[in-house]
């Protein structure tokens, strides 16, 4: 085991797959010699050269379009969209072209490509550089959606996404980039569509994603001091969704809380709540509660941003009140 930061784990995952498969190519803005605006691709340009690690113009449609054309003709491209907010400028490529072409051609076309993007708040960048957009991808059939919460998962899930035969939207929560953690030595490849139980507790289940996972774990520690034992599930992948792991935790504990960074409406937690209500209603001992950012564009000032996003305190308070 080596200790790596989340950003180093991302670079390590890309390097592992590029070394293994000569058909993996990587394109994006400032990803080459500059090493990425979040320094998550440092060293790749030096290791693999300008042909396989290519800087692009600021042309998000061309970046995703080129990755798609390459994927359908034999490459396994990784495309970086610098901030997930910029997905809005190429959403046609993502949602209309990449997501639908296998289906519309009834499988004539395969699209093994990964779209990596820096996602989420906590950096005081304001509403156009801070959105948590996993649910945009989740709403479009044909896209896989992955969002790791720690360095080991960042490397392993990214490697799995690159090997996957389908398009994967890979969300990297940007406040996690500096977080360090143990990453298995040697080749590390995880599995898409597998949630992970990070903490066992008999009283309730807290389901979280990406940056909300460490906050939920902290909250669970504080709740334990108040005699509330929480199970914490890291969803890791929204599509495919590991409902088995999530529902079995809900069944055991009888209560479900979701912790979502996204604004309220149609967040991923709403889908999980609906599935739980549908399939384990009789096991529930109380209402399902969603903890989200309010339905507002994320404000910039530190105090406002911190108050808007689900905090450890808010998770603790909400769970405590609901469990009373």
């Amino acid at each position: 085991m080596a200790e790596l930061s989340f950003r180093e784990a991302i670079a390590a995952g890309i390097a592992q797959e590029m070394a293994r498969d000569p058909l993996v190519y990587f394109i994006g803005e400032d990803i080459g010699a500059a090493g990425g605006v979040f320094k998550a691709t440092v060293g790749l340009f030096e290791q693999f050269g300008p042909d396989r690690v290519r800087d692009t113009p600021i042309s998000e449609q061309a970046i995703i379009g080129a990755a798609m054309g390459a994927a359908m003709t034999g490459l396994r491209p990784i495309a970086e969209i610098m901030f997930s907010d910029f997905l809005a400028t190429c959403w046609d490529m993502v949602a209309n072209q990449v997501a639908k072409t296998r289906y519309m051609t009834d499988g004539q076309v395969s699209l093994p490509l990964v779209i990596r993007t820096a996602n989420g708040g906590g950096t005081r960048f304001g509403a156009q550089h801070s959105q948590s957009l996993e649910n945009w991808g989740m709403a479009v059939p044909g896209l896989k959606v992955v969002a790791p919460s720690n360095p080991a998962d960042a490397k392993g899930l990214l490697a799995a996404a690159i090997r996957d035969p389908d398009p994967v939207l890979f969300f990297e929560q940007k406040s996690l980039y500096g977080v360090k953690g143990e990453v298995p030595d040697g080749e590390h490849v995880d599995r898409l569509g597998s949630a992970r139980v990070l903490r066992d507790g008999k009283d309730c289940t807290i389901v979280a994603l990406a940056a909300m996972v460490p906050r939920s774990l902290d909250a669970a520690e504080r709740l334990a001091a108040m005699d509330i034992e929480a199970t914490v599930v890291d969803v890791r992948s929204l599509v495919p969704l590991d409902t088995r792991t999530i529902l079995s935790a809900v069944t055991k504990t009888g209560r479900l809380f979701t912790v979502e960074e996204n604004p309220r409406l149609c967040g991923w937690g709403a889908e999980i709540a609906s599935i739980a209500a549908d399939e384990c209603f009789d096991d529930l001992d109380g209402p399902i509660v969603r903890i989200t950012t309010p339905h507002v564009p994320l404000p910039a000032a530190d105090v406002l941003e911190d108050a808007a996003m689900p905090s450890v305190e808010r998770i603790v308070e909400t769970v405590k009140r609901a469990m009373r």
Partner: protein
Amino acid sequence: MSTRVEKPPAAEVDRPTRLRLYQLMVELRDFEQRAYELFLENLVRGTSHLALGQEAISAGYAVAMRADDYTFCTYRGHGHTLARGASMAGAMAELLGRGNGMLHGKGGSMHLTDVRHGAMGSYAIVGAHLPIAAGAAWSAQVRKSGQVAVCFFGDGATNIGAFHEALNLAVVWKLPVVFVCENNQYMEYTPIASVTAVEHPAADRASAYGLESILVDGNDADIIYQTARQTIDRARTGGGPSLVEALTYRHGGHSRADPAKYRPEAEVREWLQRDPVKRYRERLLTNGISETQVNEIETRAQQKVDAATEEARRGDPARVEEIERQVWGDGSAAWRN
């Protein structure tokens, strides 16, 4: 018609190629006409965008392409897809929503695709396929396969961002791609000239990307064929992309049963006189090809379209089991365990 249209290239097109060009154009013409008839019979349920009048462009390029080259086209793509050798019955059945359609009913008229023949898809969002074609060309470049991507689009597509993003990227990366603008003078119902800053929406913008301005008569199959050979050859030999504007006209409306009343009668009449199929027929006859030979090509094309129509009509409706297939690489539509 602009005075800047280029003269026919000096080299003559040989006889077998001419016969092939004519045969293809007649087949595409007959297919589209049949599609229109079936539409009027209410057998084509959704929409269809016919390329009647634009056959010289699809035929001219397809004949010049290598079997493994890539074609990317728009919703007005029946002709481009068939010209690469895709099954006519499969295309017709797809229009009719039958299980024997080339996409088993999941794509429809606007998305005809036959990857085995290099027909890499028909794209229904204006301009979207230009960057995708650039991507296929990039893949051919790094795989050193010698393949070329040819991307057809309308005049209207020159005003969307993806056009400019794709051209810039293709030039910067020196990609083996040929962009062909079929300027049929109209978008849906509005003339391109009324919403565009330059007279020739593609050719006048070529210089912005350091490309040669190429403006050709899109209703002359010989000119298109020669232009195709030059531009494809340039791409294949590492000379990078080209942008071609081919002037043409659609004989019918934009889609479905649009009567196209928004076009001045005199303009329509003038363009009908420049019908690429009729013109080419005359050229063949004045160049030593007999009436009998020409008739034979026409009869065979009719028979081919008749047979394809029959086969398509015999097909069962698309199967509902298809709905939840082929979302993912494992063939399934499963999003949870």
